[in-house]
């Protein structure tokens, strides 16, 4: 039982590490070139020297902008207690002026235990905000506005700010870039190794770390890992991979294996269209192939009726055994629409019936080809039809 419990403990430790930005980002902080120390310097100079700054954190999704900001703010709150109020706005929620001001007023009230009224007007709120800013300035309190999803407030962050706004923006920019492959590896190693101290049985921890090292050295793992990072090298993406892998860990043995990573890789990188094809019925495949043929004939617009005509043509010329009634075909057609393998080209037109609305194929011929090949019981005729056009 004791052995079981420390294995569970190891699993949960790994999971909590992966979910904790503090742990993941910590090793990247020490150098003075890191965004963490730059951002911290800028905000703390606002606190100590009363420099007003506006800083833009730029970077692709999942590169740790919010995480680093949270870390910095958290550290500063500890360092300068009672001197910072944080107001958080999100562009997705508060891009409307009125709503944003109301939210600012609400959070200011919350922060200072004041009574907030929903009924206050735009003017009231904006004046309240200005009054508060002044009071806080006099009381040596710094207000940090965090505008998440900033591009929703502006048309396009940085490049297309309104000229008056741009003139007032102080143009500090911090660029968050995905870590290099070496950094990713370092993070991987750091996250996965158990501490060799009293928290785990010594033998277990050593063995665990040795196995992790083995995996990391494994050529197959390196391949998978690189393949994974080729797609997207951001930290968030990496963490997702790790979390999946760790969750696959066998609690019985209590060790990570290469297979765990393999499973994680395939469970994250799915091929939705191909998987869809795998689950299609033969009739549905017929319809797709018919649409494909129509497209090759440069009949750009087609609807259910024209597809049915083609289907009949195919049937007539090849004498296939799979010929279904029209209403069955319609149902199959609707299935395909629901699976987004085909779609209507017009957005409106709810009035007219499904049969007459123009549709388009949402899967490329190469994929269709590949899908048919992978399909076990695919009729030979379909392959033939595809190849002919190929």
């Amino acid at each position: 039982m004791g052995r079981e419990s420390h294995k569970m403990k190891a699993l949960s430790l790994l999971r909590s590490r992966i979910c904790d930005p503090k742990f993941v980002f910590k090793p990247l902080h020490d150098s003075p070139d890191s965004n963490y120390s730059k951002l911290k310097f800028m905000i703390s100079s606002s606190i100590t020297e009363a420099c007003n700054n506006s800083i833009l954190l730029l970077g692709p999704r999942g590169s740790g902008k919010s995480a680093v900001l949270e870390l910095v703010v958290g550290d500063l709150l500890v360092e300068y207690p009672d001197m910072i109020s944080v107001i958080k706005l999100s562009g997705l929620l508060h891009s409307d002026d009125n709503c944003a001001l109301k939210e600012v007023a609400r959070q200011l009230c919350m922060e200072h235990q004041l009574q907030f009224s929903k009924a206050a007007s735009f003017d009231d709120n904006s004046q309240f905000m200005v009054a508060m800013l002044k009071e806080c300035g006099l009381a040596h309190k710094t207000i940090v506005f965090i505008l998440d999803e900033f591009d929703q407030f502006a048309q396009d962050a940085d490049q297309l700010l309104e000229k008056r706004v741009r003139s007032r923006f102080s143009h500090r920019k911090l660029l968050f870039l995905p870590p290099s492959t070496e950094d990713s590896k370092r993070i991987l190693e750091q996250v996965l190794s158990l501490p060799v101290d009293s928290s785990f049985p010594h033998d277990y921890a050593v063995e665990f770390n040795r196995k992790v090292q083995d995996i990391l050295e494994d050529r197959r793992f390196k391949e998978t890992f690189n393949k994974y990072l080729n797609l997207d090298s951001s930290i968030k993406h990496l963490l997702r991979f790790l979390f999946c892998a760790v969750s696959c860990m066998d609690v019985q043995t209590g060790f990570l294996t290469y297979e765990n990573f393999e499973t994680a890789f395939s469970s994250i990188l799915r091929q939705p269209k191909l998987e869809c094809l795998k689950n299609c019925s033969i009739l549905e495949l017929y319809i797709l192939v018919c649409m494909k043929r129509l497209e090759v004939k440069e009949q750009t617009l087609c609807n259910f009726n024209s597809i049915m005509k083609e289907y009949k043509n195919v049937h007539d010329s090849f004498q296939t055994s799979d010929y279904y009634a029209r209403n069955v075909c319609l149902r199959a057609f609707e299935h395909l629409i629901n699976r987004e393998l085909i779609c209507f080209t017009d957005s409106r037109g709810y009035g007219s019936s499904v049969e007459f609305r123009p549709v388009k194929l949402l899967i490329s011929s190469a994929e269709l080809h590949q899908g048919l090949k992978a399909y076990h019981s695919c009729p030979a005729i379909l392959h033939k039809l595809m190849d002919r056009e190929g």
Partner: protein, 892 residues
């Protein structure tokens, strides 16, 4: 109320300390008359030489007092003064960059009003809406309580804290009278006798009392108790700690113990007062751990403690006179605002506190003039730095909220206007606005509030903070519990000073490079004011952002205001509006009306009233006669569909008796042309263009701010100015670049050389490289870097996009075509083709960071994609990619 504010002010330890001191002092010494003051520090002069008015003659009222024999004339007078002040207030708007400040000011004003009202209507003093009222009301209660012991007035003592009452009693045994709140107790005594409040109450601005001349706004020492003992002497002169005589010789003050020493008494004697800090031998010895006492005074002579010493050991109080009056029975009273010494605050003396530091409180009291001893001088940090003489100077930078035990820096505008005037000026307005607040249940609320402990006071019936009706209730809560030490002790390095000077928020002393424009504005405004008709005056100012349009107008208005104060030009009112801050264009009427008359009405009503004033020439009130200058910033935002707002505003100046002058500011040069002809004919006549700054001007602007701070390399400033001048000519940009450069240099010094002594000395110049880095950061779009750090597949997709573009010449492509290209590229270069679905993901990721513009991923093969940046940028970014060298051949 478990913890009353004043309890902490006069804590038990203080009482003990006091009694101890009392025990030391020997009995009955007559007040010492002012002697000639020995100069203290070489520059000291006789500061305290009072007018030689006969000290026995109780009172001399100086001519400029305003007398109100009864209530009605009183009011008239008040209004007169108010009107005077109104104009002043409206000019004050000029100083305030934003509307919000007006409100705060009003907020403050109000508290003063209620102070004023407190004399007339006792019930008002407990208004819950008045930020200071609660502590004050409470203190008054307690003082009553205290008095009831000595004066035997039948008032039920409201003792919030038993132990405290006891303490008080102990003090009472020694007959504490002076601190008592005279007004209330006396009133209740009278109430017993006649049940009538004193009818005559005469207000003064200046009073000569017992030889001292006191004015509203002065700072004074206040007696703590009726002195029967030796401490009743108020020495004007400090004695030397060594020879125990004052003499005429120069004395020097120890910066640590504040003791005074004759230069000649020191060992070795000093010839001159040394520069910088000086610490006496006793303090020095104490610092290195030796126990040294000051020499004892010779037998029979006791060490006379100066008032400063007594104040700093809380045997005296200091206060700020807010108003003075004579009661019906002839006693002279005044309303004061207490100062406290750091020891009397909740957190006690902090290491960063200066020896002579006081805090201003929001605790008011009415006291008799009798308890005032004489003047002291409480100064702002700036004044204090200059003051070098006298023993009665004190330093005050913060206000202490006795209720919340919180500190707040004193706003600088506080010193600009006299509080007394303000209180009158807004009285009328406040009356109608707050009549609902001054009702009885507010008093009840107040009483309740005093019993509540702090967090509960914001309970259900407290007004909301962000509602205007509540006048932003509760802002007084904001304040820091403890003044952070690093702010007080921090000595700015040169770079930090430079950073502070380059802040957009800091107002420079001089505004170079816009003299011509400012002259033009001045002459325009002056011409318009002096013209009796004020016909059709409208000025349109345009220019790109950051060229000093608003700043120039505001600085002109400031200089004009000083001319008004000097009396060279007629008073006028000035209203500043920013179009961007209006919720809707129509709201401008409301804002204008509120600024002019102080009432808030709906915009339709406001339009009607403004039309009455400007078109029909109906003047309500005397002030309406003054010309009105309306500054509208961001004028283009007032354009509505039918342009009626602009039409109305620009039409008013053309009316015969409107006396309205409009100054509009916008960015576009041709705004008048874009408007309807009937508007442009009213506005486009007088225009003023603010061109972008050229590099010499920018250089001058930056250097003028950095005067005396030598951290920038000369070429660095020039480089920044040239760069900005070439791009936009925006001064804000130039300042920001320099500030950023200073920040980068600061960062470099503090982080990279944290161990070397370079950081300690604070030296190090802001070099070209720093400016270069700042410019890079500011002007270079980061997309090149983002592309360089893309994932491997991302790079391939980008290359395929460029390749596709070169092949077809079409900027837009579909996902299907792109995928074909990618698969071609991959197969011919030995790369594994990742599959369509993966590729789609990669494309969408690039779309998220706006490297590509693309449609939603659900369109799959029909998805349209396009590069968001020139293909050359992509080629530049990816040409030298180490991982994928083969990309280069598709990028040429």
């Amino acid at each position: 109320m478990a913890e009353t504010p004043s309890k902490s002010l006069r804590s038990p330890t203080k009482c003990k300390q006091q009694s101890h001191l009392d025990a030391n002092s020997s009995p009955s010494v007559n007040p010492v008359t002012p002697q000639s003051v020995a100069p203290r520090r070489s520059t000291r002069r006789k500061l305290l030489a009072f007018d030689s008015v006969d000290p026995q003659k109780p009172l001399n009222c100086i001519d400029e007092l305003c007398e109100h024999p009864s209530k009605a004339p009183n009011k008239d007078k008040a209004r007169e003064r108010r009107n005077l002040n109104r104009s002043r207030r409206s000019i004050d708007y000029a100083e305030e960059p934003c509307k919000g400040k007006v409100t705060t000011r009003r907020n403050r004003t109000r508290e003063n009003v209620s102070i004023g009202k407190a004399h007339k209507k006792e019930s008002n003093s407990g208004s819950a809406k008045c930020p200071t009222s609660t502590p004050r009301g409470e203190t008054s209660k307690r003082r009553n309580d205290k008095d009831s012991d000595s004066a035997k007035v039948p008032i039920a003592p409201v003792s919030p804290d038993q132990s405290e009452t006891k303490k008080r009693k102990r003090i009472d045994e020694r007959r504490v009278v002076t601190r008592a709140m005279v007004a209330r107790s006396r009133k209740s005594e009278k109430g017993q006798k006649s049940n009538v409040l004193p009818k005559r109450r005469v207000y003064y601005k200046k009073v000569v009392y017992d030889g001292g001349e006191f004015e509203v706004g002065d700072d004074v020492y206040v007696k703590r108790r009726e002195e029967t003992d030796s401490d009743n002497e108020f020495p004007e002169v400090e004695e030397c700690r060594l020879c125990f005589s004052s003499g005429d010789d120069v004395m020097i003050e120890c910066d640590d113990c504040l003791g005074g020493f004759h230069l000649k008494c020191l060992t070795p004697p000093l010839k001159d007062v040394p520069e910088g800090d000086w610490i006496c031998g006793f303090c020095e010895a104490r610092k290195i751990g030796r126990d040294v006492g000051f020499p004892m005074p010779p037998e029979g002579k006791k060490l006379v403690r100066t008032l400063r010493e007594k104040l700093l050991s809380s045997d005296l109080w200091a206060a700020h006179i807010e108003s003075m009056w004579k009661e019906g029975d002839g006693t002279y009273c005044c309303r004061v605002r207490w100062y406290v010494i750091p020891e009397e605050t909740a957190i006690g003396r902090q290491p960063h506190n200066l020896k002579r530091e006081l805090y201003r409180t929001n605790d008011f009291a009415d006291i008799e003039m009798e308890s005032i001893i004489r003047h002291c001088f409480v100064m702002t940090p700036k004044e204090f730095a200059k003051a070098n003489e006298g023993d009665d100077i004190f330093f005050c930078e913060y206000e202490y909220d006795v209720h919340w035990h919180a500190f707040k820096r004193l706003a600088e505008i506080d010193n600009d206007n006299e509080v007394g005037e303000e209180s009158d000026s807004d009285e009328d307005w406040n009356h109608c606005k707050e009549s609902d607040f001054d009702t009885d249940d507010d008093v009840e609320y107040d009483a309740e509030n005093t019993k509540d402990s702090r967090p509960q006071s914001s309970s259900n019936h407290a007004p909301a903070a962000n509602l205007r009706k509540g006048q932003f209730f509760g802002l007084q809560k904001i304040g820091t519990k403890k003044i952070p030490q690093f702010i007080r002790n921090h000595k700015q390095t040169d770079i930090e000073r430079a950073k502070a000077m380059l802040l957009l928020a800091s107002l420079p002393k001089s505004l170079p490079c816009r003299n011509k424009e400012m002259e033009e504005i001045t002459s325009f405004v002056k011409g318009a004011i002096c013209d009796d008709q004020c016909l059709g005056r409208c000025l349109y100012i345009h220019g790109v952002p950051g060229t000093g349009k608003t700043m120039s107008v505001l600085s002109v208005m400031r200089s004009l205001r000083s001319e008004v104060d000097a009396g060279t030009i007629r008073p006028y009112c000035f209203v500043e509006i920013n179009g961007l801050k209006l919720a809707s264009p129509e709201n401008i009427y409301r804002v204008i009306y509120e600024a002019l008359n102080g009432h808030r009405v709906s915009w339709k009503k406001a339009l009607h009233l403004l039309n009455e004033r400007f078109v029909e020439g109906k003047k309500s009130g005397e002030k309406a006669d003054q010309p009105c200058i309306l500054l509208i910033d961001e004028l283009d935002l007032l354009v509505t569909r039918n342009q009626s707002v602009l039409y109305n505003i620009l039409d008013w100046p053309t009316k015969p008796h409107s006396k309205l002058i409009v100054i509009g500011i916008a960015n576009t040069m041709d705004l008048p042309e874009k408007l309807l002809p009937r508007i442009s004919s009213r506005m486009g006549i007088q225009r003023l263009c603010f061109g972008p700054y050229n590099y010499q001007q920018l250089q001058e602007i930056i250097s003028s701010r950095l005067k005396g701070i030598d951290v920038f390399e000369k070429q660095a400033i020039e480089f920044a100015s040239r760069k900005v001048a070439a791009i936009s000519g925006d001064a804000r940009r130039a300042l920001e670049i320099c500030r950023r450069a200073a920040e980068i240099a600061d960062y470099r010094i503090k982080k990279l050389h944290s161990n070397s002594d370079l950081a300690a000395s604070g030296k190090g110049l802001v070099a070209m490289a720093d400016v270069e880095a700042a410019i890079q950061e500011m002007f270079q779009a980061p997309h090149i870097q983002v592309m360089k750090s893309c994932s491997r597949l991302g790079k391939i997709v980008l290359t395929a996009m460029v390749h596709e573009l070169y092949k077809t010449g079409m900027g837009e492509t579909t996902f299907e075509k792109l995928a074909m290209t990618v698969s071609c590229l991959c197969t011919s270069n030995g790369e594994v083709f990742p599959g369509y679905d993966t590729l789609l993901q990669v494309g969408c990721r690039l779309g998220e960071s706006r490297i590509l513009l693309c449609e939603a991923g659900s369109k799959h093969r029909l998805q349209k994609l396009q590069l968001n940046f020139p293909s050359d940028d992509v080629a530049f970014a990816l040409r030298n990619c180490k991982d994928l060298p083969w990309l280069a051949k598709y990028l040429v």
